[in-house]
Amino acid sequence: MHLLEKKMKPQPISLKMLNVVSVLLFLAALGMVFLYAPLEVTMNYVQKIFYFHIATGWVGMLGFLAAAAAGVLYLVKHDQKWDIIELAAVEISLVFFFITIVAGSIWARPTWGAYWTWEPRLTTAAILEMVYIAYLLLRQGIDDSDRRARFSAVYTLIGAISVPITFMSIRLFRTIHPVVIGTNSSATTGSFDMTSKMLVTMFFALFTFSVIFVNLFWHRIRLGQLAEQVEELKLEELQ
């Protein structure tokens, strides 16, 4: 079947349903955060940022692992679809981690007095963002789709190995030289006592963002497939 005739399928029913489910879950999560979860004792309202901050962080990690797996699968199987999946995972993970970092900074300011601290998780997240951006810049510089897919997969692998090592290095660095942050209350270590209602809200937020991730992931893959189709057609035209 000629490329032109191969139409991009409209959203399957399951995807449309997923869209609706995501929106509903998101609204429900917001509801739980603001109406159900109790007010925290030391930090007051700002603690409520934590629910979505943690959720996007954990789910961002999922994306990171998905990207690494897709990279390996591409190198092994040479099927272009893994490249599309890898790019989608990287992009969405990038967005989620960005939310994690910025929300975390906004939470940190009133709590610790500074927007940023060089603590292991935060610093590693920032470095991960740099790896992702480098990944996107790498892709931008290659026109040949096969080479682009190969190089991207290789870089994903290198990044996937180095980021955990980076995290451990910074932790090693910090245990020997602890960061001096203002006060030493439990708030500075980022922990606070969570009541059961808070825990429920937290897990619900986690679940919600996992669903949102899958939803966005699916859409991004479809976008990638359409982009691939257009690119192939353009190449055909040039011949």
Binding site: L75, I127, M130, V131, I133, A134, L137, L138, Q140, G141, I142, D143, R147, R150, F151, A153, V154, Y155, L157, I158, G159, I161, S162, I165, T166, M168, S169, I170, L172, F173, I176
Partner: protein, 236 residues
């Protein structure tokens, strides 16, 4: 008479080491004649040292503490320069294509380039250390420091050679290498600076060992990873 005949396996491995040796020899010999790469790296490294002198106008005490960081920043930047040039020359002169046509394992190219890149980086470091010692009246001739510099450079170049092989094949080329390399090489920088600092301050070996271990682990993991993955980077 029959002990002259090599087994097929021995022939392949001798071809492999032969290829690696040939690449190293080619790079070193070419550099000996033109001295382009080394002079560029050396001048650059010394200029960076100079810039740090004015950028961080430090009193002697603080300078002592900042020295490992300044040294490693210098090495990282000069290293990038060397990696870029080394690969660019390979590609532009068509040497890379020639090497790929040779009936030898692709990883021989990787090891050959890595070792010659490492040689250049070490030469630069060997020059920068005494110059720095003289300029700032510090004794940098410390065995521990030299070990750290060796281990750190190995890891840096192992990853750098792989990534520069990719970068040189893109449109953005030179600019891309530092962007790809630096986020991934941070464990080396952390461990190398801390270990260097430990040795220069004369800390107990037990305090420095975690960082040395980190360097060794990083080196092993990434040499293995780069070796496994290099084929994908140079196939046509």
């Amino acid at each position: 008479m029959s002990n002259i005949r090599l087994t097929a396996r021995q022939k392949t491995s001798s071809r492999f080491f032969g290829a690696v040796g040939a690449i190293i020899w080619k790079d070193l010999a070419a550099e000996l004649r033109s001295r382009e790469l080394l002079s560029a790296m050396l001048v650059f490294a010394l200029l960076v040292t100079l810039i740090f002198n004015f950028a961080l106008d430090l009193d002697p005490g603080t300078r002592r503490v900042a020295t490992p960081g300044i040294l490693w920043a210098t090495f990282a930047f000069a290293g990038t320069l060397g990696l870029n040039r080394s690969m660019a020359v390979e590609k532009d002169r068509g040497c890379l294509d020639g090497l790929l046509l040779a009936p030898v394992d692709r990883s021989a190219i990787y090891f050959g380039k890595t070792i010659s890149n490492l040689a250049f980086m070490l030469i630069v470091e060997v020059v920068v250390l005494p110059v720095y010692s003289v300029l700032y009246n510090m004794n940098l001739f410390n065995t521990g420091l030299i070990v750290v510099i060796l281990l750190g450079s190995i890891g840096y170049i192992a990853v750098g050679t792989l990534l520069s092989s990719m970068a040189v094949q893109t449109r953005t080329r030179d600019v891309l290498l530092p962007i790809l390399l630096f986020p991934v090489v941070i464990p080396i920088l952390i461990a190398a600076v801390k270990a260097s600092s430990g040795f220069l301050q004369g800390l107990a070996l037990t305090e420095v060992m975690p960082y040395i271990n980190l360097l060794i682990v990083y080196d092993l993991i990434f040499i293995a990873a780069a070796y496994m993955v290099f084929d994908y980077v140079v196939e046509e």
